[in-house]
Amino acid sequence: MTGRRSIALVSMLGFGYAFLYLPIAILIVYSFNDSRLVTVWSHASLRWYGALLDNDQLLDAAWLSLRVAAVSATLSAALGTAAAFALQRLRPFFVARGYEALVMMPLIVPEVLIGLSLLLLFVVLGNTVGWPPERGAMTITLAHASFGAAYATVVIRARLSQLDPSLDEAAAILGATPWRTFRRVTLPLLMPAIAAGWLLSFTLSLDDVVVASFVTGPGASTLPIVVFSSVRLGVSPQINALATLIVAFVSCLILAATLMARRRSA
């Protein structure tokens, strides 16, 4: 690469990263601003973090969000694993294609459509078979699992297709039955992908406003729902503090997972 062009490229890259990170950085800096006015800097303080701790509504919502995310991510990872296997084994070709389209549907369908369609499902089910009896944490969990599973499938399937098929055969000829082969060879080799699928579904669940708003019922507000309704009214320093905490939490989670994955593969 010649010098002038590489300078141009590096500055484009720098501009891109600044564009990606500056808004969040500014938000984090202003979360330590004591002023009630978000845009006027008075002096640094932890005032808004203190206010967060007293906000019971937010804390309850956060706790609910974590529980929903953990359960739905676990469901997603299990379903994603099953779907990845199903897609690998399905014959004939057109059946596999149709199945694939159905599995991948939540990836391309707009969130509003997923939310609306699942809500209508729960309403119709509730009216006809009496289940679910009410909408709330459980319906949110199921809804999150339904799109989380699609993302988990993509991650797990990618790994499954990379596995050397002769590993299965090697296990078989060394005496392992299909079930034993799955437990001793396939599952351990898929584990990093299953964990990644879990993490992806977890963060997606933790971040979802739209689907949760549709399928929730009275009394069950996840953190994003509470944040969203507050943000719609305008910016507030308390949300800055909360946003900083969420960014820190998720970043730590992702960095830890990445480092762990790198150490494993090294």
């Binding site: 050397d164 002769s166 590993l167 055969e169 090697a170 296990a171 078989a172 000829i173 060394l174 005496g175 392992a176 039955t177 034993r180 001793r184 060879v185 351990p188 080799l189």
Partner: protein, 338 residues
């Protein structure tokens, strides 16, 4: 040391009229073949000849459409791979990347639910056999190609199978390592005494290692015999060409005669025997330990002769276009039967 079993009359593998196609494509078409106990048996052929499918049928990864496969007289046709007294070394080695060398080797014994102490002992013994004892705790990705190959072998042999199947076991090694590994595999078979069935596309590898060779083409057996038989007495043009260079002459009686280049004699003067061919020299290729003379008959047909440096020196300086006479000892000529 395990005593080498006597070569009995009963074959260890009997393949009876086995056919297998994938969709409309026949991969193996009605193969009947016996493999004797203690053989180092090579299946050779070009890619797509069905040799790998035949090996996978013996292993049980594929089920035959027709025919049966017996091992030690027992019908294996409907047995899954994990219930056959056969082990296999894969072309990719197929070492489990998440398990250590020792756990890889012990994998099959654990499936047999052997006691821990026995597993440890047998794994250690198998690793020692291949000088890999010090690397027992390593993971596969921390090994060199040659070391991986040895682990794959140790893993396949530790269960004392009746038959070891090898799918292109040396393909992943570089040329120098490969030659040594060929000798080691032959010595290993002598030592463990069991039957080896190896698939290779490399005719030289098959010739140098096998006790018996089956040459395959289009899913069928082309010729079965010892390496000498296949080289000296090929039955078909295909077999003649597959194992080294061959000069083929169609005679008026409808037969075809083969003369290997090293049996071909070159002289400047007309030799005093019958069946001499006049030719002009096209070029001479120096191979280090030999010379190959490419000649053209008056009919235009190309013929090669392989001469030792001493024979070449006796001929004196040759240049392209020189007139030469080609002849051979009638005993060295082979009539192809098909």
């Amino acid at each position: 040391m395990i005593d080498r079993p006597a070569r009995g009359a009963a074959p260890v593998i009997a393949i009876e009229g086995v056919a297998k196609s994938f969709g409309a494509v026949p991969a193996v078409a009605g193969v009947t073949l016996d493999i004797a106990r203690g053989d180092f048996f090579c299946l050779v052929g070009a890619s797509g000849s069905g040799k790998t499918t035949l090996l996978r049928l013996i292993a049980g990864f594929e089920a035959p459409d027709e025919g049966r496969i017996l091992i030690d007289g027992e019908d294996m046709t409907n047995r899954p791979p994990y219930a056959r007294p056969v082990n296999m070394m894969f072309q990719s080695y197929a070492l489990f990347p998440h398990l250590s060398v020792a756990d890889n080797v012990g994998f099959g014994l654990e499936e047999e639910r052997r006691p821990r102490a026995e597993i440890r002992e047998r794994v250690a013994a198998a690793l020692d056999l291949f000088d890999m004892g010090s690397l027992a705790a390593r993971k596969p990705h921390q090994l060199s190609g040659g070391q991986r190959q040895r682990v794959a072998l140790a893993r396949a042999l530790v269960k004392n199978p009746k038959i070891l199947l090898l799918d292109e076991p040396l393909a992943a090694l570089d040329k120098k390592l490969r030659e040594r590994a060929q000798l080691e595999l032959v010595a290993l078979r002598e030592r463990v005494g069991i039957t080896f069935v190896m698939v290779t596309h490399d005719q030289e590898e098959a010739m140098s290692m096998a006790t018996h060779i089956a040459l395959m083409r289009d899913g069928a057996l082309c010729q079965v015999g010892t390496p000498r038989e296949l080289y000296d007495a090929p039955q078909s043009r295909f077999a003649a060409d597959f194992f080294g260079a061959a000069n083929l002459f169609d005679e008026t009686a409808g037969r075809t005669v083969m003369v290997r280049p090293e049996q071909m004699m070159v002289s400047r003067a007309h030799p005093s025997r019958t069946g001499v061919l006049a030719a002009s020299l096209a070029n001479v290729v120096f191979l280090g330990n030999a010379y190959v003379c490419h000649c053209a008959l008056d009919s235009g047909k190309a013929v090669q002769a392989r001469l030792s440096p001493a024979d070449m020196a006796a001929l004196g300086a040759l240049s392209a276009g020189d007139r030469v006479y080609l002849s051979w000892d009638p005993a060295a000529a082979r009539v192809l039967t098909s």
